[in-house]
Symmetry: C2
């Protein structure tokens, strides 16, 4: 979901951007108009996340999934091992792809609870010789979210923040590297943000393609080759919208309230159930199952007829899933809760 | 430059695509609406280029530049060497990046003519043990274009067609692999098309990230991870526009005429000069230098004041460059020629 104000602005500027005589997608990425758009994009992200000056901000292509491979290629720096937390489907993919590049130590896994918990910090096994510790701050499929940043791990912390970046406050200094696809809270798919501490840049293996080498891209303001210009522009519009809302602290309070109302409705019902431990429920993705799964199809059909789209759970877990990212207004959650109550009453 | 009709349609459909209740950029890439957009995109490209059934068509991210590394990673298949023709700046980049993956034999180079020629076929040195022969069908910076496809090389032919794909007819069966960034003749930046013959798929090295492994992406209809959905949609609109123009054969005739008029104007002037041999002048990119280069700045300023944007030559070669891709209408070339004549008259 995109903020409607962003879609309206993009629509108004589609044919011509600010008296430039052209659409953003027609601009040379080396021209002065696009340079302005790119500079605003980085400045706004730095402001919204309070990114310190000793971090590079890169805008790449390929999705967070490409980074599953390029993070070890860039960060190993002669080491042979990396630590990973396994808290769901996205962690598993990151672990699998890193495994083709280096030795992976799974420091902790929630597989035995079917990814409905986050393993206690005290039980994590961390190897001080590893290059970094990787985790996924929010698991979209399982609806599991870290409620705080892991502490005292002794390793550079690398986080896949694709699905909760800008939804809550993070202290960037806690991390060695933050990465995120843009398609959840930052705009349309097609841009991958990498925020990386200076000392971790410049050690890529020779095998790393130049466009995925953090040092090369940092030197070239992420324009080593033609970037996805129109996507950068759209992400920039979303960041401006977020600033206009009051920034991350304000949207976080709204997200807390939206999620609380939806979980309460689920917990108070007899038809719906969320399987995740209350200590690590996601504010972004709320999976729920129906007590009688033969009602699934009827639920989805009735939901769509009521204008509630994209509620089907991921094929790997089934059931339902409500994604309530930043752009989902309070009214969307209210409508969903009302629909769920009415469906429960009539079924 | 984008066809104006495409921008208008994208504008009209920005908020809601065809009664779907949402913008294309809000669609799940697994949903039925986007599945339709994706299927149309591939079908239209197959139709426009007459792509045989034994070729896969992939839509990736990262630009053609990323493929400079991933082509050898996917195609070497146990071999240790690849042949490359060096006909300009883009060839050079492809050669450099491949050199990090395998041994590169430069089969021929036009460096000694400062990339104003294409070396004679008879003088190419081809190693039959190489995995493939790579060339760049159009060099945007030097304005050099192959007027026919290399024949009887004995190796799978791999071509970077980024800047002349869909501008002229190609026989896809002549190639092992065709790749192209979309930002010249297919739409905005952010999608990379790879058209690859079946027998070349499935031999990627273990180091190849899954999202750049042709076999993995072919199995997943290029949706191993979230693709750049809105960019796919825009490329699809450009392909529909091209079909409405009459297809590649029709646009090729228009491109021939546009380029001929511009080269004639340059050749008939005393102020302007194109340095490229007439046998390999590009129909897409027409570089020209002013006899008095102290007039460059005045030329560019006057051009921009006359609504003629993006005429500055690439920083590596200087001078001017007119890019006259498919979307550039005849009137754009007419206006440029008139401006150039007037500038020459008054300077």
């Amino acid at each position: 979901m995109m903020p409607e104000a962003v879609l309206c602005q993009a629509q108004a500027e589609m044919i011509e951007w600010q008296n430039s005589g052209m659409s953003v997608m027609e601009m040379s990425h080396r021209g002065k108009q696009f340079a302005h758009i790119a500079a605003m994009l980085e400045a706004d992200l730095r402001e919204l996340m309070a990114i310190p000056a000793n971090y590079k901000v890169l805008f790449l292509q390929g999705g967070a999934t490409a980074q599953f491979s390029f993070i070890p290629q860039n960060l190993l720096n002669g080491k042979t091992k990396a630590c990973y937390l396994n808290t769901g489907a996205w962690s598993e993919k990151a672990i699998k792809d890193a495994g083709a590049i280096c030795e992976v130590l799974v420091s902790a896994s929630a597989e035995e609870t079917k990814f409905t918990t986050i393993p206690e910090r005290a039980r994590w096994v961390i190897d001080a010789q590893a290059a970094y510790l990787h985790y996924t701050s929010n698991e979209t499929i399982h609806g599991v979210e870290f409620q705080s940043t892991p502490e005292n791990t002794g390793l550079p912390l690398v986080v896949d923040m694709s699905s909760n970046i800008l939804s809550r406050e993070f202290n960037v200094s806690d991390f060695g590297l933050i990465y995120a696809g843009t398609q959840k809270n930052m705009g349309p798919a097609g841009v991958t943000v990498v925020i990386v501490r200076d000392d971790l840049v410049g050690h890529a293996s020779n095998m790393t393609p130049a466009v995925f080498n953090y040092a090369e891209q940092a030197k070239n303001q992420s324009m080593l080759n033609t970037p996805a210009t129109y996507n950068w522009y759209l992400v920039g519009l979303v960041l401006q919208w977020l600033k206009a809302q009051g920034g991350v602290a304000v949207i976080e309070q709204r997200n807390i309230a939206k999620a609380a109302r939806l979980y309460q409705a689920i917990d108070n019902s007899t038809l719906y159930r969320n399987p995740v431990a209350t200590t690590c429920r996601s504010r972004m993705n709320v999976p729920f199952i129906l007590a009688d799964e033969s009602l699934d199809a009827a639920f989805l059909a009735a939901a769509e007829a009521n204008g509630l789209a994209e509620l089907k759970g991921h094929r790997s877990v089934g059931g339902m899933r409500a994604s309530i990212y930043n752009a989902m207004p309070d009214e969307g959650v209210t409508a969903l809760i009302a629909f769920m109550a009415e469906f429960e009453r009539t079924h």
